[in-house]
């Protein structure tokens, strides 16, 4: 999809009619729009979202006030946005009109048409817009750069997870899961309401109570996770401040080293404990089975001595003698004779080759068990020694870190001492949250186990009647379907997570001068690390860059999925990338690299920038990609007084972006040639 034109009429700051034509050239694919804050950048971004879906971004203030104030004062109560675009070689126009009827409300009218040989052919609006850019994906194509902090914030996992799920097109499958879960609740109520099912009512009540407790526990866990992440970020920020103060620098560096060593020890403790758990699962039996192994070997040996296993006679050998009717001593064995009967009698105890093999294998296995036991005990001792050594190492490090903290707390510089006290309080909070997290997690697991037991009891009790059996079968069908959908979504999410992480790292390699490593963990938490393994502080320019790279990766992911015909997911799309204030808090050095990179992110890119963001260097970096350029001018009724006319120089032309003593307060657009 490519945007061709947008026409605004009395829409927000834009009094009267305004037309924007966008760059569609494959080389010069950027439309650049200059505007100072508050003049109308965000309005333009929101105009498309509003026309397509009737929605606006979170930061769009006074959402209900659509009609321009000046127009309203003149009795003109209609505002509209027309979006002309091209999709799959066909042109379409979507128009949303708002007629204000009262202070707070009005009527909305949406029309959408396909343009065929100059004629308009009506098409269903929602179907069209959702097939061009599915609703849940739109906010990432029309992105407010200042909101990028949502992705780099300490508690980013919710927003990041949602963004990936939205771009993956999970909403339809998710709605199916929610609807099936809702149906299950209804079916279980129906079962409980069947006559004579008092036990079921009781069980259902208990299950509901436990489910509520589980949900509450999960909410608390999410809250604690956020609290821990917030503490971690604040600790990082304090550490950064301490590194910057000469008096604390050395101690803080020592603490950094010790903390890094502690993390290393913790990782080793984790592996050693895992090795111990593995030992219990695989080798513990060898130790416990010592007596069994000894008794088994004794039994085999005893039976061997008695000649029972293996027997001294081989079955095949005896059969051959009988068949040849000749004994090994060359005497004849006439069938039915006494000698023949004696030899035939041997068959009762004669052993088969298979039995012999089994005895040999059993002896060998029991011997291995005995031998393995010695090795198992040795490896257990090694693991236990390692765990003890790591525990000691950890205790030493904890003590050293504590002492560094005390030294910093007693530092003669008041600021350092205060930061350290604040830091210690955060560490305490973090540890407290960690303990509470563990306790709640245990409680939740126990509720879940109890729910499972009660559920099984519910099913056993309910299957007494034909009607309840049928209802249970229906509920189980819904449950199985939920599980299938969840499994499929989980698989796709995992693939998406990996693909997006790979793409972000690729983008960062190009745009970030220093080498960073980006991680997106399976809980959708994303973090940026220096090559040393230390995390990049949140709120830094680098994290803003990470957020931009993340958005770019989402757009790229959607593009790759544009022709995907997966039945569970909504296909992706190819759409313009509209970025409001993309350079946000980026340092000058990143702005230029980012400006060079932005045009490659989508076939069509629309950038909305203020003069502080779109400086000369940024404009120069974008220059070869700009296909259309606009400037938004603010006209004001009042006198200029001491106010600046906010001059802006673009391509050698100077523009006053704020004008005074004008007939109306409004924003107008001027195309730069």
């Amino acid at each position: 999809m490519k945007l061709l034109k947008i026409n605004l009429h009395h829409f927000r700051q834009f009094y009267g009619k305004h037309e924007f034509t966008f760059a569609t050239d494959s080389q010069r694919n950027v439309t650049l729009l200059h505007a100072e804050n508050g003049v109308g950048k965000t309005t333009l971004l929101n105009a498309v979202l509003w026309a397509f879906y009737g929605e606006t971004t979170k930061k769009f203030e006074q959402k209900q006030k659509i009609v321009n104030f000046e127009a309203l004062a003149e009795g003109k109560n209609v505002a509209s946005v027309d979006v002309l675009f091209e999709h799959d070689g066909q042109q379409y126009i979507v128009q949303r009109q708002y007629v204000q009827k009262s202070e707070t409300g009005g009527d909305v009218r949406v029309t959408s048409h396909r343009i065929e040989n100059g004629n308009l052919v009506s098409v269903p609006a929602m179907t069209l817009t959702n097939s061009v850019i599915p609703y849940e994906m739109a906010k990432y194509f029309f992105f407010d750069g200042e909101a990028a902090e949502t992705f780099s914030a300490e508690t980013n996992y919710k927003a990041v997870g949602k963004a990936i799920k939205d771009m993956l097109g999970c909403s339809v499958a998710q709605a199916a899961i929610d609807d099936l879960a809702y149906a299950i609740k209804g079916i279980e109520d129906d079962i409980s309401e069947l006559p004579g099912q008092d036990d079921l009512v009781r069980l259902q009540k208990e299950i509901k109570e436990l489910t509520a407790k589980t949900e509450d526990g999960e909410r608390q866990l999410a809250g604690l996770r956020e609290l821990k992440a917030r503490c971690a970020t604040q600790i990082q920020e304090i550490d950064e401040k301490l590194r910057g103060v000469a008096a604390a620098q050395q101690l803080q560096r020592r603490r950094d080293d010790k903390t890094s060593e502690l993390k290393n020890v913790e990782a080793k403790q984790h592996s050693a404990n895992a090795a111990l758990a593995k030992w219990i699962g695989t080798k513990g039996l060898l130790v416990i089975a010592r007596r069994l192994a000894t008794e088994s070997l004794n039994f085999i040996d005893e039976q061997s001595l008695r000649g029972r296993i293996p027997s001294p006679y081989n079955e095949d050998f005896v059969k051959e003698l009988l068949h040849a009717e000749t004994c090994i001593c060359k005497r004849p064995l006439t069938p039915g004779s006494e000698e023949w009967r004696h030899v035939a009698e041997l068959l009762k105890n004669a052993s088969k080759a298979e039995t012999l093999g089994r005895v040999v294998r059993a002896r060998s296995r029991v011997n291995t068990l005995k031998e393995g036991r010695k090795e198992a005990i040795r490896s257990l001792q090694t693991t236990q020694e390692l765990i003890a050594e790591l525990n000691n190492h950890r205790r030493r490090l904890d003590q050293e870190i504590l002492e560094i903290g005390k030294e910093l707390e007693g530092a003669p510089i008041k600021e350092v001492a205060n930061w350290e006290r604040e830091r210690q309080e955060l560490v305490r909070k973090q540890s407290d949250a960690d303990n509470r997290h563990g306790a709640i997690q245990l409680a939740v697991r126990s509720y879940q186990a109890k729910i499972e037991r009660l559920q099984a009891e519910f099913d056993r009790t309910a299957t007494r009647t034909t009607k309840s059996t049928a209802l249970i079968a229906k509920r189980d069908l819904a449950r199985r379907s939920i599980n299938t959908l969840k499994r499929l979504l989980g698989k796709h999410e995992e693939e998406a997570r990996k693909a997006i992480a790979h793409e972000v790292n690729k983008i960062l390699t190009v745009t970030a001068r220093r080498e960073y490593y980006f991680r997106l963990d399976d809980g959708f938490e994303m973090n940026l690390y220096y090559q040393t393994g230390k995390p990049v502080p949140k709120g830094s320019g680098e994290n803003q860059l990470m957020s931009l790279a993340f958005i770019a990766s989402l757009v790229d992911f959607s593009r790759k999925r544009a022709s995907s015909s997966n039945g569970v997911l909504i296909p992706g799309t190819i759409a313009p990338l509209v970025l409001d204030s993309p350079f946000g808090q980026l340092d000058a050095r990143y702005r230029i690299d980012t400006a060079k990179f932005l045009p490659t992110l989508a076939d069509q890119v629309i950038l909305l920038v203020s003069s502080s963001q779109g400086d000369m260097d940024v404009l120069a970096a974008l220059d070869e990609s700009i296909g259309a350029e606009y400037i938004l001018i603010s006209e004001n009724r009042g006198d200029q007084g001491q106010k600046s006319s906010d001059p802006l120089v673009v391509r050698g032309q100077q523009f006053a972006t704020s004008l005074f003593n004008c007939p109306r307060n409004l924003t107008r657009a001027e195309r730069i040639q």
């Binding site: 269903p124 929602m126 179907t127 959702n130 097939s131 609703y135 909403s171 339809v172 499958a173 709605a175 199916a176 609807d179 099936l180 809702y182 149906a183 209804g186 049928a470 079968a473 229906k474 069908l477 819904a478 199985r480 379907s481 299938t484 959908l485 039945g567 569970v568 909504i570």
Partner: protein, 61 residues
């Protein structure tokens, strides 16, 4: 569609159910936004139909 003479296996019926369910959800997601109660009632209808079909086929087998 199930043949009158050869009932499809339950797995195929469940797969068909999932496809129909997702198709229904897609329709409501794109064209009938907001009609949640109606959508849920359609889902229940589909669930009833499939469950009855599975039950019938299990009895026949």
């Amino acid at each position: 569609m199930a043949s009158k003479h050869l009932p499809p296996d339950p797995q195929a019926v469940e797969e068909e159910f999932l496809n129909d369910l997702l198709q229904l959800e897609r329709l409501y997601a794109h064209e009938l936004l907001g009609a949640k109660a109606e959508r849920r009632s359609k889902v229940l209808e589909l669930l009833n139909k499939t469950s009855a079909r599975l039950h019938r086929e299990t009895s026949q087998n």
